[in-house]
């Protein structure tokens, strides 16, 4: 019997993360000062990031189960950066809601490992494995504020709907397997290309892809599969929301892009279906966000809208659109994480949310935080020269190039609607009289400041300085080789 040759170097970033998870759990039993655990987590994230960037094995590895291509690299970096920032964000505030900071760090690392598996997976089995690792970790993280009824409710909701979504995923995968005889994306792509009409169960293929799309829709919070999002994002501890709102999207979109590229036939109906999903997702997200009084809920609806913008890039069906979608993901990672970081900085220690009332007049009490929040709000609106503007520009121009000018117009109208609620936050902070007592806002520690500064600088700099990493994005999309 011959044993398979396994290139463990290819999954080195994952090995580091999982080993660190176990180490954190063990250290949690002996270490008194729980902050050490967060630093251990940060160290692991840094090591994993270094492994991602330095060890670049030839793809594919593990019998074609994972790919370490440019797209996987790109998504891994975005996810790891989000994890690092989320760990920093949680450093001073985990004690507000839990007595188990060790488990918190461990689960965050495990979720990250799952996301990277998903982003790099080139086989349905591995995609599902990654999806389950990340989902199970996130279900627990969402309910981590044990004494908060909202957090518990959020965890249960997320768990039930997430399990449901997993069912869709599996059924879709099974049908695609029935149609093409393989779970491997490369094999599936080859099978469709060579004899698509003569495949025995060819009619099952579109049904399978459709079901898969529903599964991704749940994970990405696309309308009409978004119902859980506001409750979960509001109920979860703010640092968890910050993390899951960006990193999950990166992982799931990277995986969706891979799957789409594999089953791609450039069919107009499929693109129109994606475009339709994008339109309802953008519009409903933005309209619902208009009337929220809770900032976390508002950002939850806004995150739905942003998923719609990214989907616009995919619906464009050309390289430009895919590049735009990837650019948007990294842009969104920084600006959204920054916005949630500011919310956490403003929120009271005994609370898990901030109302619009609480930030009224923030500029007089905390000019620094108000200024940073303004930067993030402007970026989310899509003001030049911030990173959000270029994201929208690339995505919409991709749509125009793909012959979907109407979709770009809907997107621009949506951005205008969104400007109302983003800018309202700024207006309240600067022009409203102070209502909240200054003492309510806890002192902002260095770790949170670091997160805020990194995200703010990135929000500015990545818009102005795009050359090197746009090249990486282009290469990622070229390697996908859309037909």
């Amino acid at each position: 019997m011959t044993l398979p040759t396994l290139n463990f170097l290819a999954i080195l970033p994952l090995l580091i993360l999982v080993a660190a998870t176990l180490l954190v759990l063990l250290a949690d039993l002996v270490v008194r000062n729980k902050r050490v655990l967060t630093f251990l987590g940060l160290l692991a994230v840094a090591a994993s990031l270094a492994a991602v960037l330095l060890v670049r094995p030839a793809a594919p590895t593990f019998q074609g189960m994972t790919l370490a291509d440019e797209l996987g690299l790109f998504a891994s970096v975005a996810i790891l950066v989000a994890t690092g920032l989320a760990l920093l964000l949680a450093l001073e505030r985990t004690s507000d809601f839990t007595r188990r900071p060790g488990a918190y760090v461990a689960l965050l690392l495990l979720a990250t490992a799952g996301m990277i598996v998903m982003a790099k997976a080139s086989d349905f089995i591995t995609i599902f494995l990654g999806l389950e690792i990340l989902s199970l970790s996130l279900y627990i993280l969402v309910g981590f504020a044990q004494r908060d009824a909202r957090s518990n409710e959020a965890a249960l909701k997320y768990f039930l709907l997430g399990a449901f979504a997993s069912g869709f995923f599996l059924y879709g995968m099974a049908l695609i397997y029935a149609a093409t005889g393989s779970t491997n994306l490369a094999e599936i792509s080859k099978g469709i290309a060579s004899h698509s009409a003569s495949l025995p169960f060819a009619p099952l293929l579109p049904i399978g892809v459709g079901l898969l799309l529903v599964g991704y829709g749940f994970k990405l919070a696309l309308v009409p599969f978004h119902m859980w999002t506001p409750d979960v994002y509001q109920g979860a501890p703010t640092s968890v929301t910050a993390f899951m709102s960006v990193a999950t999207k990166t992982a799931a979109f990277a995986s969706l892009i891979r799957v789409l590229a594999a089953v791609w036939s450039g069919d107009r109906p499929w693109l129109l279906a994606l475009a339709g999903l994008a339109v309802v997702t953008m519009t409903l997200g933005n309209l619902a966000a208009l009337r929220q009084t809770s900032l976390k809920r508002m950002l939850a609806y806004s995150s739905i809208a942003h998923a719609g913008y990214v989907l616009t890039g995919l619906a464009a069906g050309n390289d430009r659109g895919f590049e735009g979608a990837l650019y948007y993901l990294i842009a969104y990672t920084f600006m959204n994480l920054g916005a949630f970081a500011t919310i956490q900085a403003v929120q009271r220690r005994d609370q898990n949310d901030v109302t619009t009332e609480q930030i009224t007049g923030l500029s007089t009490q905390r000019p620094g935080l108000a200024l940073l929040m303004t930067v993030f709000m402007f970026a989310l609106t899509g003001m030049p020269p911030l990173v959000g503007f270029f994201g929208k520009l690339y995505v919409f121009s991709g749509a125009v190039q793909g012959g979907m000018t109407w979709l770009a117009i809907v997107g621009v109208i949506n951005s205008a609607i969104a400007a109302y609620y983003y800018l309202r936050v700024t207006v309240l902070m600067y022009m409203g009289g102070a209502t909240a007592a200054a003492g309510d806002i806890p002192r902002t520690g260095w770790a949170v400041w670091t997160t805020l500064v990194i995200t703010a600088v990135a929000t500015l700099a990545l818009g102005l300085w795009q050359q090197p990493w746009m090249e990486s994005i282009r290469e990622a999309v070229t390697l996908l080789a859309l037909r």
């Binding site: 176990l22 759990l25 063990l26 039993l29 025995p200």
Partner: protein, 118 residues
């Protein structure tokens, strides 16, 4: 219709036929003698009480999860034990890593008093 799927179809037909015939024949031919003890949902000798939907201690949940943990461990060990000779050192190391990972979870649960019934 590919021939590769035919055995599965045959299997499905035989399996369902077996179930239908076995249940159907015993329902048609079997004698029926009802009595109150026999008609209880669980004919176990213990009198049923209350509603099935009631609250029970959350600790059962912890016990159930821990049971799954070790159950899965054993299930994976069986096929490995069958193949241990052929998998050789490679398999032994893999199993060692697997057990070590579970051991960390075990120690963590232990130290967090998961095994104490409070």
């Amino acid at each position: 219709m590919p021939e590769g799927y035919l055995p599965i179809l045959v299997m499905v037909i035989i399996a369902s036929a077996f179930a239908v015939i076995a249940l159907g024949v015993s329902a048609l031919l079997g004698p029926r003698r009802h009595n109150p003890a026999k008609d209880e949902p669980y004919e176990s000798g213990i009198l049923p009480f209350g509603d099935a939907r009631r609250r029970f201690p959350i600790q059962f949940y912890v016990v159930a999860v821990l049971f799954i943990l070790f159950d899965v461990e054993i299930i994976l060990m069986y096929p490995w034990a069958m193949m241990a000779r052929r998998l050789g050192l490679f398999g032994l190391i893999q199993m060692g890593i697997f057990v070590a990972i579970l051991l960390v979870g075990f120690v963590y649960a232990w130290k967090n008093d998961a095994f104490k019934w409070q």
